[in-house]
Symmetry: C2
Subunit: 197 residues, 2 copies
Amino acid sequence: MVGIPTRDRVAERREATRAEILNAAWAVAQEKGIAALTLKDVADRVGMRPPSLYSHFASKNAIYDAMFGQAWQGCLDTMRAARDAGLPDDPRAAITVMARAYVDYAVADQSRNQLMNARISADFRPSPAAYLPSVAVWELSRDHFATIGLTAEEDLDLFSAVVGGLVDAQLANDPGGDRYTRQLDRAIGMLADHFGL
Amino acid sequence: MVGIPTRDRVAERREATRAEILNAAWAVAQEKGIAALTLKDVADRVGMRPPSLYSHFASKNAIYDAMFGQAWQGCLDTMRAARDAGLPDDPRAAITVMARAYVDYAVADQSRNQLMNARISADFRPSPAAYLPSVAVWELSRDHFATIGLTAEEDLDLFSAVVGGLVDAQLANDPGGDRYTRQLDRAIGMLADHFGL
DNA sequence: GTCATTCTCCTAATCATGGTAGGTATACCT
DNA sequence: AGGTATACCTACCATGATTAGGAGAATGAC
């Protein structure tokens, strides 16, 4: 008469704790910088001792790996939302919306951007699984470029280098400001002219 | 009758040892990456024990600091040499020569570039003294821009972001190759068009 | 040449950090 | 109720930056 339990309480608890640890890690990263993140700081924040974190993550790099995946997944979600909200018909305007979505996301959190794009530590390499959303962002960009007739790999390379350059310059030289990002529209106009859009 | 000693042997030896340590540090950085540099590796290479390095540098960050200064000084020297070798009359060609000098220097050594442009560790901040050549590079660029009639700060910002973006993309996505740097001429042509040169 | 001083390196030890081993109490299922 | 897996804990270890204190060699004054 007893129904088969439809929930796996252990798995739920485990997942909740993992999420809690990751949230704590993000908080520490924002506060002290992604490279200064220590297991002690994370453990303190979730009320554990550092070794206990190993019940949930195989290593510190595994935490970085999960964060890396979350960061790119968030980026992917943001860009999909921008795309699905209905892009302008004008190709330049459409590109601008997509690029702005990326840039705003990237600039919003320096630690997150460092994790996404810089080599945070010598031995951390994202796992294939965590890498997936990053590839999806790249493909989404390529697909969008294709819809407006840009298919040359070199065009996308140049475009991404320019946008990435603005983001990096912004975070490096004027964090919190808009000295570089305010030139995004201009840069895209320049690229569009160059691409003959 | 005895001449006043014209050499300070202690200072010479001291300076030579400092240089030796820095050379060892560069070698380790190239081999293992700038972030993986340890005092043990450096000490091994110069035949010392790690604590002995403290007779010559106040800390590991002081070594990074000296390397930072050397890296930017080398960049400054390279760009001055390019400029003094006689730039083409054509503004586009002249800019290209200068930018190429910078890009080639930046791309030649990933560790060096990370040290120059990325935040290598949370607590390392270059000293004002080490920062000087970096400022000089910036001023040299601005001066050169001024000679061809570009004085708007925003133009130099955009230019530097584009060039920096190509360098970062090159080192991050195709280290050792030329997938991005081969687009430098094209990018400069695009910028020149946009600037109305 | 001798001697005091300074330099340069050493060994020993401390502290922070990532990570491992092994134990214990609790939550869960039967 | 009882057995098992889970989720923590405490003790340890290794590495790496850094400090303390000492010993031997280079230097310069006499």
